[in-house]
Symmetry: C2
Subunit: 145 residues, 2 copies
DNA sequence: ATTAATTCATATAAATTCAATAGGAATTGA
DNA sequence: TCAATTCCTATTGAATTTATATGAATTAAT
């Protein structure tokens, strides 16, 4: 399950990708239809995840770091929610051993869930913010949802 | 994320699939290495999900309902954890509208997550308990994890 | 220098979900 | 009657989620 945090993060990034310019968090919150104060914390995390840069003070704001086609959904989702895999032992970026399994090399649950994780990663690691923006039939009107 | 409940459920079902026979929950708990009392509740849910049948009283126990190749992982995961989709609006079995989106037909988040959900469903709805058992290199020794 | 707009840091809180345990009623076979 | 079992209801503690509140630090404009 994607958390609200992650969903909001994606929306914020789509807004920034479509806009291209620097925007204050309040403007992003409005356009993305996301709780303003919650978004502030999310933007901080996105900055730490290297997805955007921020400037403080008057006329400050947030701007995408790098071009939209280089920021992949997989990167964003991992930064917000952690692993893509359904189960920690099947994760490549957030691997964790299972206490209830003695030999993960033969574990059939792990094998099955690794297949799932690979499919998820295939989709999310090949889809960029630009893809997301272009996906919208109304992108010229800046309507994404 | 797969819950522990779901993981335990899958393990219990693999044990039953491999064994073929009726087993009391205590025996399943031991073979699957799962907390006994927690498993009891899980087995009840699995019965309600039509994955097994139970007999009460002495010599009672639980038995797979139908053959292992007909019970799909997707069915089990849905019964335990709900939707496969990363987000409710992208779920086919557990659909729920998003409060923060005004037009889901054009929503790019939904479009992206629908792709993910379809990949997940493709894997889990085509993999059966029998597949899981056969996946094990040590199935003859009943070692699955 | 003051003010307004902003990010940033920290703390907190309410609600929900998860993982499990407890206790005992009901059922069944020996 | 007894032992083994499923089944039912309640509870618990911990963690996570989804925020909100407060105010410090920074910056540009006046
Ligand atoms: S090793 Fe993770 S489920 Fe078995
Ligand atoms: S409709 Fe669900 S994310 Fe937009």
């Amino acid at each position: 399950m994607l958390s609200m945090k992650c969903k909001y993060a994606l929306k914020a990034l789509v807004v920034l990708a479509a806009e291209g310019t620097k925007l204050p968090s309040s403007a992003i919150a409005q356009k993305a239809r996301v709780p303003a104060k919650f978004l502030e914390a999310i933007l901080t995390d996105l900055r730490k995840a290297d997805a955007l840069t921020s400037e403080r003070g008057a006329h400050g704001g947030h701007k995408l770091k790098g071009s939209p086609e280089k920021i992949m959904l997989g990167h964003v989702v991992r930064a917000m929610d952690g692993m893509l895999a359904p189960i920690p032992c099947a994760s490549t970026f957030y691997y964790k051993k299972c206490d209830d399994c003695t030999d993960e090399k033969i574990c059939v649950i792990r094998h099955a869930m690794t297949e799932v994780r690979n499919k998820i990663a295939e989709v999310l690691d090949s889809m960029s913010l630009e893809d997301l923006v272009n996906m919208s039939p109304k992108k010229k009107q800046q309507l994404f949802w």
